[in-house]
């Protein structure tokens, strides 16, 4: 390891730049949470000149890996940290609530499914929209990759921890899922509510147990499928007190009533306080 780090520092010297003089808080992780956190960073930096918050993507686990190892100040994630990362000292803050909804190609002719039907669709027990009172059309299941946070929520809440059918089409991102569903007759999928709202012209929402997904339905406790967006910091690795303070202030700003009820709502998420009383761990 010693020779390795020596070698690396030689490479580093050849390309290292002067460290930034401004106080920097680096945020890495979930690309889905990226936009809202970036927006928060922009607003926060306006009131805190001299502070620089750099938000970059990389994926939920990349963010968690990095924050656990001290590679970044804040890791944002759609999923909870693993046991090992918890052991490394990462601390969770739920920053937003993310409702999920079933979507389908507009031509399937089904507007509502029961919880059991939804489960059967994705486990492969139901294979044609006809069986649900829709068009005679094969069901094409579009899902996210195994490591995706959305898929984890879907497996837990919709499939009740059973395995997905093997007959699926997998797309890496929600954007690609929406495109696939909108162009593939018979397609069904499971996405964040905001994606349905922004693509109403191309895809159709399907109600779950008779309740259409909406912010209000989640707030009233009528719609059960949602998850938290997380921000993790690792106090053990934040040796610089100023950086730690800046990171904590930034998280406090995200959780402030002003930001939660303003930007968070506008961005299609729900404020954490709305569902605080409900389950805290999915």
């Amino acid at each position: 390891m010693k020779t390795q780090s020596l070698l690396l520092s030689v490479i580093a010297l050849s390309f290292a730049s002067v460290a930034a003089q401004a106080q920097t808080v680096s945020v890495m992780g979930s690309t889905a949470l990226g936009p809202i956190v970036k927006k928060a960073a922009e607003e926060f930096m306006k009131s805190h000149p001299g502070l620089n918050i750099a938000v970059s993507g990389g994926g939920s686990m990349t963010g968690l890996n990095q924050v656990a190892a001290g590679g970044c100040t804040i890791g944002i994630s759609d999923v909870y940290a693993t046991a090992d990362q918890e052991k490394a000292g990462v601390k969770n803050h739920n920053i937003v609530v993310q409702p999920f909804t079933l979507i389908a190609h507009p031509g399937v002719g089904v507007k509502n499914v029961s919880a059991q039907q939804a489960e059967f669709i994705f486990t492969g027990k139901i294979n044609n929209w006809k069986e649900l009172g829709g068009k005679d059309q094969k069901i094409v299941r579009v899902i996210r990759p195994e490591s995706s946070g959305t898929r984890a929520v879907q497996k837990k809440e919709v499939l009740h921890d059973q395995d997905f059918s093997k007959d699926v089409l997998i797309q890496d991102s929600t954007g690609a899922v929406v495109t696939s569903v909108s162009t593939t007759p018979g397609a069904v999928s499971f996405v964040e509510l905001e994606h349905l709202e922004k693509n109403k012209a191309r895809i159709a929402g399907i109600a779950y147990n008779g309740v259409e997904c909406s912010n209000n339905a989640v707030k009233n406790g009528k719609y059960p499928i949602f998850s938290f967006g997380h921000a993790y910091i690792n106090p053990a690795k934040l040796t610089d007190a100023a950086t730690r303070k800046a990171a904590e202030d930034f998280l406090a700003f995200i959780l402030s009533k002003e930001f939660q009820e303003g930007t968070v709502l506008k961005a299609g998420y729900l404020p954490v306080s709305y569902v605080k009383s409900m389950k805290t761990q999915l």
Partner: protein
């Protein structure tokens, strides 16, 4: 920047005066500075050698770092948080379900091979024929045009190809040919890969034909063969070792492409068993239009979302190492082919 300095220029050019070479031009005429010239020459030699050694160091570096992470899957190393896997359960199993502790990557290897071969099936002949056309038959303006076309096709970013495939090609195939069933799979991926690797094959095949002695073609024509007979029976066989090299290098590009393929292939790790079980369509149709996955597509999708040190993450790095070793294998194979051609 170096090349700008090196461009032909007149002696008084101020930019040139900064270059040590100018000093040396003076030194040619002054007897006393022989030692300096010698030293500079030796110094330059080591600088150039160092540059070349950087490349070697990079290869070694890639190998070492990928091995450190990749072999962690099979060895009980300190940073591991998951269990240690055996080679057999990774390389000889088609079952990939990391959250259920199954790490077989055979279906990804098969997927990479299938999509590459499928792309080559069209790209190799059409690439070689295009090279034949450009080097031997086309009029001058067409030659220039084709070179431009190939340069541009090489330059188009793979994401652009991918998005084109996702938003345009897939719906088109699905609506036109498949009675509305999804089109994601090997066929769409191979179509896109084909366009991406043809330029490589064309430009290398053109080199191969240009390297042939003119007398070969002329001799065949003098013996009364038609142009096509000369091409088919004389020139293509004579160039075949280098043509094969061109094809193999195209294959290398196809195996390594990630972003474009990932958007259109459907990414289903269970494609092998899915294909076996589904019997409602002809086998070939099933093969072409079942959502499938390859080594690269799986890497791109899962790597950002797996925990460092977990068996899952380690296996992904092992897949990266495998890709790198495959590249080395391909390069060594072209070496062999090249040597055979040189005899």
């Amino acid at each position: 920047m170096l090349m700008l300095k090196a461009m032909p220029s007149t002696a008084g050019d101020p930019a040139r005066d900064a270059v040590p070479a100018t000093k040396m031009r003076l030194s040619i005429h002054s007897e006393g500075s022989r030692g300096l010239r010698f030293l500079l020459d030796r110094g330059a030699h080591s600088v150039f050698l160092a540059c070349a050694l950087v490349v070697v160091a990079l290869i070694v570096g890639i190998l070492v770092f990928l091995s450190l992470r990749g072999f962690a899957a099979f060895l009980p190393l300190a940073g591991n948080t998951g269990r240690t896997l055996s080679f057999a359960e990774v390389f000889l199993s088609t079952e990939w379900a990391p959250s259920s502790d199954k790490f077989g990557i055979l279906s990804f290897m098969a997927g990479s091979l299938s999509v590459t071969m499928l792309a080559l099936l069209v790209a190799a002949p059409s690439g070689i024929l295009t090279a034949v056309f450009v080097t031997l038959l086309a009029p001058g303006w067409m030659k220039t045009l084709m070179r431009q076309v190939m340069d541009l096709l090489v330059g188009i970013p793979s994401v652009v190809y991918g998005i084109f495939g996702l938003t345009f090609l897939l719906p088109l195939i699905s609506a036109k040919w498949l009675k509305d069933s999804p089109a994601a799979g090997f066929f769409a991926a191979a179509c896109i890969l084909m366009v991406m690797i043809v330029p490589t094959i064309v430009s290398l095949s053109m080199d191969a034909f240009e390297a042939l002695p003119r007398t070969l073609d002329e001799g065949a024509l003098a013996l009364g063969s038609t142009r096509w007979q000369s091409i088919w029976r004389v020139l293509i066989p004579a160039a075949s070792p280098r043509l094969l090299t061109a094809v193999v290098l195209g294959m290398g590009r196809a195996i390594g492409e990630a972003m474009a393929v990932q958007m259109v292939i459907g990414n289903n790790p269970a494609w092998l068993s899915l294909m076996r079980e589904a019997t409602d369509r002809a086998p070939l149709i099933r093969f072409l239009f079942t959502p499938a996955a390859t080594l690269t597509t799986e890497l791109v999708q899962e790597l950002p979302n797996t925990a460092a040190g977990s068996a899952w993450n380690n296996v992904l790095f092992a897949m990266g190492l495998l890709l790198f070793l495959m590249t080395m294998g391909i390069i060594l194979a072209t070496r062999r082919l090249g040597q055979r051609g040189a005899v």
